[in-house]
C-alpha cells in the first residue's frame, strides 16, 4: 500500500515523516511523533479523548488521517503550557474546579476549551457547554468540567459547598 511523505508542524516544531495512508492522525501523533498526551479512547469518533487542534480548530484526531495533516499546524496538550511550569489557563481552571478524576478524557476536554477560548473575545457559556457534549467523561459526572467551562466563559460562580 502507498506510503506518503508528509510535512507538518506539531507544537511549533517541524516534522517530516513517511506514513501509510491508513494511519490515523492520533496514532501518528502518539506512536511516531511521541506526543502521548493525545489519548485514544474509542477510535471511532465518539468519546472525544483524542481531540487536538488542527490549524487552530478542535478536531477528533482519530477521524483524520495523518496524511491529511500534511502542511497543517497541529497542537496537542503538550503544546499548550508555556513550558515554565505554569499551566495554561484552561488547565488551571479545570484543576481548580476538580474537572477531572482519572484524567483520561482530560487532554481532549482541554483542547476543545483551549481552541474555543483562544480568540480575543470570550465565547458564551452556551458555546462552551454545548461543545462539551463532544466529550465523554466516565468519572466526574461533568459538574467540575461544567464549572470550569462556565468560568472560562467569564462567569463568576459561588464556591461548591463543602460537605466534609
Amino acid at each position: 500500500m502507498s506510503k506518503h511523505q508528509i510535512h507538518l508542524d506539531i507544537n511549533g516544531r517541524a516534522h517530516d515523516a513517511s506514513v501509510e495512508g491508513r494511519l490515523t492522525l492520533c496514532d501518528f501523533l502518539r506512536g511516531d511523533a511521541g506526543y502521548t498526551g493525545v489519548h485514544v479512547g474509542c477510535e471511532h469518533g465518539v468519546c472525544g479523548a483524542c481531540t487536538v487542534m488542527v490549524d487552530g480548530l478542535a478536531v477528533r484526531s482519530c477521524l483524520m488521517l495523518a496524511v491529511q495533516a500534511d502542511g497543517c499546524s497541529v497542537t496537542t496538550v503538550e503544546g499548550l503550557s508555556s513550558g515554565d511550569g505554569a499551566l495554561h489557563p484552561v488547565q488551571q481552571t479545570l484543576r481548580e474546579e476538580h474537572g477531572l478524576q482519572c484524567g483520561f478524557c482530560t487532554p481532549g476536554v482541554v483542547m476543545t476549551l483551549a481552541a474555543l477560548t483562544q480568540g480575543e473575545q470570550k465565547p458564551s457559556s452556551e458555546t462552551l457547554i454545548n461543545a462539551m457534549s463532544g466529550h465523554i467523561c466516565r468519572c466526574t459526572g461533568y459538574q467540575g468540567i461544567r464549572r470550569a467551562a462556565l468560568r472560562l466563559a467569564g462567569e463568576t460562580l459561588a464556591p461548591v459547598e463543602d460537605h466534609g
Partner: protein, 288 residues
C-alpha cells in the same frame, strides 16, 4: 480498531477525482470530512481499496448566490457554513439544521456535501435539502454532468441515486421568498445524536394565506420523508382557519418509522404528531 490498508490519493481537480473513481470501478470511496467514513473504516465496515480524498480540490469549496439560488461547495465545513454571513441571510433553515449536526469538534471537519451525499435517514441535512427543494450537481468522467433533485436522491438508508463514479460538485438550494417562515424541531437523546424524530421545513405566507410549503421528516423512515399530504393541505389555507392537529395527522401518515432499541415506531408517530402540530402553530403565530 484500525482501518484496513488502502491506497490513498488526494487529487487537486474534479477531473482527476472523477478519473480515479471511474478507474476504480466501484472499489473507491470518496473521503470528504470523514466524520462518518473514518468510523466505518476503523470498524472495518467499509474496506475500499482506494480512498479519493477530495479535501484539496479548491473548486469544491465556496458559497455564492445567483438568480434566486445559493450554491454551496460540497466540501464547505459545517462550522464554516454556520459562520457564513451569506448563508445566514439566504438560507437560515439550512444554518439552523447544520447547528444540529454532530458536535462542535466534528463540525470542524464534517462537510455539507458529505452529509447530503451520505443519506443517513435520521440526519438533519438530507431532510432539509428535500424540504427546501435543493438539488445536487454531479460529475462523472464518462457521462459528464447531471443534476439530481434531493427529492429523487434518497433510495434507502445510506443508499442514494449517485453512481459509483459520480462526484457531487455543487449543491444548489433555492432561496425562498420574503414572508417565508422556518421550522426545525429535533428530538434526540443527547446533543449530537441522530434524531429519534425530526422535522424541518419552510412555509411561505402571503396575504394571510399559505402560498408555498416544503416540509420533511428525518428519523421517520428509511430515507428523509417529504410530508406531501400536509404540504398539499396547507396550500391556499388562511392562517386563522388551520386545523393544526388534522394537518399533523396527514404529515405523520406519510412517514414509515421503524422500531429500534431507542424507540418504537408508535412512539415516533406519537411524538411526530405532537411535534408537527406544535411546530406549525408556533411557526405561523410568530412574526415573519
Amino acid at each position: 480498531m484500525k482501518p484496513a490498508p488502502f491506497d490513498y490519493y488526494a487529487p487537486s481537480t474534479i477531473e482527476e477525482a472523477c478519473g480515479l473513481l471511474a478507474e476504480a470501478g466501484g472499489g473507491a470511496t470518496i473521503l470528504a470530512g470523514g466524520q462518518t467514513l473514518m468510523p466505518l473504516l476503523a470498524l472495518r465496515m467499509s474496506q475500499p481499496f482506494l480512498l479519493v480524498d477530495i479535501n484539496r480540490i479548491a473548486a469544491l469549496k465556496g458559497i455564492s448566490r445567483s438568480a434566486g439560488s445559493t450554491r454551496i461547495g460540497p466540501i464547505t465545513r459545517q462550522n464554516e457554513a454556520i459562520a457564513d454571513a451569506t448563508l445566514g441571510s439566504a438560507q437560515p433553515l439550512l444554518v439552523t439544521a447544520v447547528k444540529h449536526v454532530g458536535h462542535h469538534q466534528t463540525r470542524n471537519r464534517g462537510t455539507i456535501g458529505g452529509s447530503i451525499a451520505l443519506g443517513e435517514p435520521a440526519a438533519e441535512l438530507p431532510a432539509t435539502a428535500v424540504a427546501l427543494g435543493a438539488s445536487v450537481e454531479v460529475r462523472s468522467a464518462k457521462r459528464g454532468k447531471r443534476r439530481i433533485a434531493a427529492e429523487e436522491l434518497y433510495l434507502g438508508p445510506y443508499a442514494t441515486a449517485l453512481e459509483f463514479d459520480e462526484l457531487v460538485t455543487d449543491i444548489h438550494v433555492p432561496e425562498w421568498p420574503t414572508g417565508t417562515r422556518w421550522m426545525f424541531r429535533e428530538l434526540a437523546q443527547r446533543p449530537g445524536d441522530f434524531a429519534l424524530v425530526g422535522l424541518t421545513g419552510a412555509i411561505t405566507v402571503q396575504d394571510g394565506k399559505v402560498s408555498r410549503a416544503g416540509l420533511a421528516w428525518f428519523g421517520m423512515g428509511p430515507t428523509p420523508i417529504k410530508a406531501r399530504q400536509a404540504e398539499a393541505a396547507l396550500l391556499g389555507q388562511s392562517l386563522d382557519q388551520l386545523d393544526h392537529a388534522a394537518i399533523a395527522e396527514l404529515a405523520v401518515a406519510d412517514t414509515a418509522p421503524f422500531d429500534d432499541h431507542h424507540a418504537t415506531s408508535e412512539y415516533r408517530r406519537t411524538v411526530g404528531r405532537r411535534m408537527f402540530a406544535r411546530a406549525l402553530r408556533e411557526t405561523l403565530e410568530a412574526k415573519a
